[in-house]
């Protein structure tokens, strides 16, 4: 019961701040609301006993990526964009399409929720030590993907430096 209340509060915070992110006029406000949404999603990870992912969410997303976003929002002069229209011309069509997609998703999830097509849950308890289990999976089963991810980060770093350089020569 307590878990359900916590889930309701966290998901309400996530959804409301998500809506705030896409409706605010000022991009700085959008970043702040996105941070609130990310905290709520981190709380949902904690609710599912994914403690390591909760820490990664706070440290990497809120501490890293969002600071990067704030830097760029402050760097880019938004005074002109503030006075212009915030939504594109075909916004009704976009809204309609997205709501249609959500209706389809909700229908399928309702079908699964009433016990039709999700495979049976394996017996036995969940792994007790979350961080240890993730560490073993990362460095044993998923060693090659980890290396590929590190290469991806290197490429992204070089790409970001080249993109933001003053002049191409």
């Amino acid at each position: 019961m307590l878990l359900l209340v916590a889930f309701g509060v966290l998901s309400a915070v996530a959804l409301v701040s998500g809506v705030m992110v896409i409706t605010r006029r000022n991009a700085v406000h959008s970043v702040i609301w996105l941070i609130v949404a990310l905290f709520a999603v981190g709380g949902i990870f904690l609710l599912q006993h994914a403690e390591f992912l909760f820490a990664v969410q706070i440290i990497l997303y809120v501490g890293g990526i969002m600071v990067l976003f704030l830097f760029v929002v402050m760097l880019v002069n938004l005074d002109v964009a503030l006075k212009q229209a915030q939504f594109s011309r075909q916004w009704q069509l976009g809204l309609f399409t997205a709501v249609l997609v959500f209706a389809q998703l909700a229908y399928v999830i309702y079908k699964i929720g009433s016990g039709m097509s999700l495979p049976a849950q394996p017996a036995g308890p969940a792994p007790a030590h979350n961080t240890q289990a993730i560490g073993q999976a990362l460095y044993q089963t998923y060693m090659l993907p980890v290396e590929i991810a590190s290469l991806l980060l290197l490429v992204a770093m070089v790409g970001a430096v080249i993109m933001a350089k003053r002049k191409f020569e």
Partner: protein, 100 residues
């Protein structure tokens, strides 16, 4: 115990909000933030199903998704800075050099 379908429903709701942001906003920065919302929705689904199947594989994939989000944010924000330097705008519909 909260049913797994609740988590997946929350994930699809957050995904829809992100898609609406990508499709309707003009500001490129807000579009990038909407993509972050979409990636978070994916992570909620991955974690919910990894808990359902008593396996950490989904959480490992969520970590890879976060890595991708970091790479995408770095390159995307670099592009926005380069774009703003050249065209003095952050509106997606004014970036039409490839249009004829």
């Amino acid at each position: 115990m909260i049913p797994t379908s609740y988590y997946i429903l929350l994930g699809s709701g957050l995904f829809t909000i992100g898609v609406i942001g990508v499709l309707t906003r003009r500001n490129v920065l807000v579009i990038l933030m909407s993509i972050e919302l979409i990636l978070n929705a994916v992570n909620i689904n991955l974690v919910a199903l990894s808990q359902y199947f008593h396996s950490v594989d989904g959480q490992v994939f969520a970590i890879f998704v976060i890595t991708d989000a970091a790479a995408e944010a770095a390159v995307g924000l670099g592009l926005i800075i380069a774009l703003f330097r050249n065209k003095e705008t952050v509106n997606a519909d004014e970036i039409d050099l490839l249009k004829w």
